[in-house]
Symmetry: C2
Subunit: 224 residues, 2 copies
């Protein structure tokens, strides 16, 4: 489907740096914005400029996966969206369960940004009997004891861990035992997971740091 | 947007790509983990390896801001932590207010990861009279009408917007009018902000995409 650009073998997907994969999400979202704005084509300079990267960085990142440009045109937005979704694996739907229906869990159940990107929140689990059987954002809260059964029955791919830090490893262990293949962990701890189960941690302080930097930079430049 | 080569002046902070700033947060967190693990020094290879970047990338990113290595030693963890905090502006405390005490807002009020990185959640606002006057995670919920007064009185730097998408711009307008200088926006819309007010958007689908990629890559490699 994709052809390696320069001579030499394309790297195994496993060897693509995490930062490159993370930027694929940014390129995808920016391409989706461009389509909404009515654009049909774009290029590495425009994509880079909108995201604050050099055009060389954009080209180098995409070259890990193939050569998607057209001479004299650049990138066709719809085509590159399809290609990136194929690379990310989100050209099909992924089923996701949530463990932990506290405040963050409720927020995740109400988050409108998962579905358009290919993720369906299929079920949510909690250990609190008072929550079990209630509905949050149209999703029924199930007893944590039913996790194994539901993951198998609904062929769940991924898990979101939104329990307190002290319970995160136990929640992850249940998800792994039930057969999920990847976990997004919102608890501020690193999980010990077996080979073959992927993990991404979410660090909400990072965005505050980026805003702080922008503000601090402006203050420094007006002071000098 | 070209990257500076070694000789020549250091770029103005405003010209540093957002991706580099974002990686500073990762380096900082990894250095903090290393200190907890008992390490006193590290180097670009080790830092890069733990994060999935090349050592050249680590050196190039840090070179935007100065030369922090010591011949024969590498980086001193505590020193580099201080330097990165100084660069990010988090060598002082930042005061933050939250607008929107729904599920996500409650989760943010309970998030334990802000304080250690230098961010104090000083107040929270909501327009729902039923919530005003209650406490969430030790923070009193105030009427949105008091935002201007409180931001001035407590010298608030930054705002977190955690209201539904339809109300995000109005919340941001209030924050800007009150004098905050940066906003982290959790609503899935891009805010129109005046020059001089920084904005970072949070996209929770990105982490799911990264996990999906890791799982899809493994499936592809076992299938072939």
């Amino acid at each position: 489907m994709s052809s390696p650009k320069s001579p030499g073998p394309r790297p195994e997907p496993a060897t693509v740096p995490a930062a490159v994969v993370s930027r694929l999400s940014l390129y995808l979202r920016e391409l989706q914005h461009l389509v909404v704005e009515g654009a049909q084509t774009t290029n590495s300079s425009q994509l880079g400029e909108r995201l604050g990267f050099s055009d060389a960085q954009v080209r180098k990142d995409l070259a890990y996966f193939g050569n998607f440009g057209h001479p004299g045109i650049g990138y066709r937005c719809d085509e590159l969206i399809s290609e990136i979704r194929r690379i990310l694996g989100t050209d099909r739907r992924w089923t996701v369960v949530l463990v932990g229906v506290g405040n963050l869990g409720r927020a995740l159940l109400g988050y409108r940004g998962f579905e358009p990107q290919g993720f369906s929140l299929a079920a949510a689990f909690d250990s609190d009997p008072a929550k079990v059987g209630t509905q949050v954002e149209g999703v029924e809260i199930l007893a944590i004891d039913r996790l194994t059964e539901i993951v198998a029955e609904r062929q769940i791919d991924l898990g979101l861990v939104a329990v307190p830090a002290a319970h995160a490893q136990a929640a992850a262990d249940r998800l792994v035992a039930a057969g999920v293949r990847g976990i997004v962990n919102f608890a501020p701890v690193t999980l010990a997971l077996p080979e073959g189960v992927s993990q991404v941690g979410v660090d909400l302080a990072r965005e505050l740091e980026q805003v702080a930097f922008a503000v601090a930079s402006r203050l420094r430049s007006t002071e000098s």
